[in-house]
């Protein structure tokens, strides 16, 4: 386990030194949150909370997917192959990668929530803040698995493109940027079953102090299973060739 943590430390360092990651992965959700809640005379406090959850989810989604881009990059550099001839086992490598993604989603989540609390005046009980952070953190796991699945399955270039596509699609359909009510009914229907919608809905409910909806929990667990299987299948396929 110590070895896995060494690997996580190395990978986290690499990620946080990536200017692109810091600007787009952390700065972008914060900037969008500030813009969408303060433009045109400002928003009501309900939208400030909902958008905070949405943008934090958006940031976590982007950071988690970027972990997959890292996998694809390492594959093309021959680094995954190099790791295979160290005593580190393939399982340790995958677990290390997933843990890294879980670490690097935190700055975006925390930055957006901090801006919400300190600048936009979102007020919640301490336990609510804590539960929301935990929920967003856990809720980013399906995205991590999706990103890792893409990274093992695709080339570095296609992983980048596919990840951007997943990022935009899930963000918009999940209502992370604009409230779902602005969309036509059939898009809202699809949106209900997206993992991003499930996470933001659960977060918003907790932010309001309400019990989370059962459907959202089921949807999120369903995606966890789907993307988890996808990651395992992709990894097995890559292990034979990479």
């Amino acid at each position: 386990m110590a070895l896995v943590l060494d690997y996580v430390a190395l990978e986290t360092r690499r990620t946080l030194r990536d200017t692109g990651f810091v600007i787009f992965g952390i700065g972008m959700p914060v900037l969008m949150y500030l813009l969408f809640t303060n433009i045109g005379g400002g928003a009501d406090s309900e939208w400030k909370t909902a958008s905070m959850i949405g943008m934090a989810t958006y940031g976590a989604l982007g950071a988690a997917l970027s972990a997959g881009t890292g996998v694809a990059e390492d594959k093309s550099l021959g680094w995954l192959r190099q790791l295979r001839i160290t005593p580190m086992t393939p399982a340790q490598v995958v677990v290390g990668r997933a843990l890294t993604a879980s670490v690097v989603v935190l700055p975006a989540i925390l930055a957006v929530l901090a801006v919400g609390g300190l600048i936009n005046g979102v007020s919640m009980a301490v336990w609510q803040w804590a539960v929301v952070v935990l929920l967003l953190w856990f809720g980013s796991l399906p995205f991590t698995l999706l990103g890792i699945g893409n990274g093992y399955r695709l080339s570095a270039q296609s992983t980048g493109v596919v990840n951007v596509g997943c990022n935009l699609g899930f963000s918009i359909l999940g209502g992370l940027w604009f409230p779902m009510q602005f969309f036509p009914g059939w898009i809202q229907g699809i949106g209900t079953y997206t993992p991003t919608r499930a996470v933001s809905e659960l977060g918003t409910a907790l932010g309001r102090g309400e019990a989370p909806g059962v459907l959202a929990v089921v949807v999120l667990l369903g995606w966890l299973l789907i993307f988890g299987s996808y990651a395992v299948v992709s990894y097995r396929k890559a292990a034979r060739t990479a």
Partner: protein, 311 residues
């Protein structure tokens, strides 16, 4: 573990084959490497060197036959930290320093050498704080060499370590390799540079079309290639009958100069002296290049072997 090297071979291939589609990349390979030996795997591009190394490291499984490292499966030797390798075409991951990168690999091995020792051995002690991906080609190869040796493994495998390096960087890398081998390590490297194999390995295994076509020291290979080359000026004399001289196996006339390949250069020279033909005489050993070209010449192969391939 350091001094109690087991008596068995470090590496053992038994009739190993590996095909990719219709191409038999490794075609019935038998090979045994003794601990502490430095061996060159010499062959043209596409001869099967990298596939052989992939099998050896357990990155690929042989279709038939077996590959053993230190008496066990390659994966077991890798897990035990007894193997280090520098693969072909690998590049260092971005945004980490040399120390961070090599230091991380050291942590994956149970008996790694001190980081500074590894960096010094690879000749990159002064680059420790630099970002690995921003170094020059030669420096990057040395970083990759440091990655291969930092775990203090018993066996180090280098797949074309000097490809695309300039002369100076190449020499520096071989110096490092020899210093590491001098610690009693088993080293296997692949190359398509004959002089590199000759200068840095005590044993050269020539591989072609996935098979071993020659195995021995550089001198043994040269001898096997057909002795020496005797050349002299014809000075306007006819060249007839030269092929009948003792020892001569091949005659080549270039302008006014005759070049005789001979199994017995002494007898050939004596015969030439008797014919009073000694003008600008030169006797040179066949080069390793001659040996290599003959061993891997498609036209020089036995017909049976070629037919078998076409089936």
């Amino acid at each position: 573990m350091t001094k109690t090297t087991p008596p068995g071979p470090a590496v053992r291939f038994d009739a190993a084959t590996k095909a990719f589609g219709a191409v038999r990349a490794v075609d019935g390979l038998d090979l045994e490497l003794k601990p502490g030996q430095t061996t060159a795997l010499l062959g043209r591009n596409g001869a099967g060197k990298s596939t052989t190394i992939g099998l050896l490291l357990g990155l690929d499984q042989p279709d038939t036959g077996s590959v053993r490292l230190f008496g066990g499966a390659p994966a077991r030797a890798v897990q035990a930290g007894r193997v280090g390798a520098m693969l072909q075409d690998g590049r260092p991951i971005p945004r980490v320093t040399v120390r961070e990168l090599v230091g991380f690999v050291a942590k994956t091995y149970p008996r790694a050498m001190p980081l500074d020792e590894a960096l010094d051995l690879a000749g990159i002690g002064e680059f420790g704080a630099r970002r690995a991906d921003r170094l020059s080609g030669g420096q990057i190869q040395r970083v990759r060499f440091a990655i291969a040796l930092v775990g203090d493994p018993d066996l180090v495998v280098l797949d074309e370590p000097t490809a695309a390096l300039d002369v100076e960087a190449r020499r520096a890398l071989w110096d490092s390799m020899r210093r590491f081998a001098a610690r009693g390590k088993t080293v296997l490297f692949s190359t398509h540079y004959l002089t590199e194999a000759d200068e840095n390995a005590s044993r050269i295994v020539v591989i072609d079309r996935g098979r071993i076509v020659a195995d021995g020291s550089g001198d043994q290979l040269r001898r096997a290639a057909g002795g020496n080359l005797v050349s002299f000026d014809l000075a306007g004399r006819p060249s007839e009958g030269l092929s009948l001289l003792p020892g001569v196996t091949e005659v080549e006339i270039r302008g006014d100069r005759a070049r005789l390949r001979t199994d017995d250069s002494d007898a050939t020279v004596v015969a030439l002296a008797q014919r009073n033909a000694v003008r600008g005489l030169e006797v040179a050993p066949a080069t390793l290049e001659d040996a290599f070209l003959r061993l891997t010449d498609p036209d020089a192969r036995p017909a049976a072997a070629r037919m078998e391939e076409n089936v």
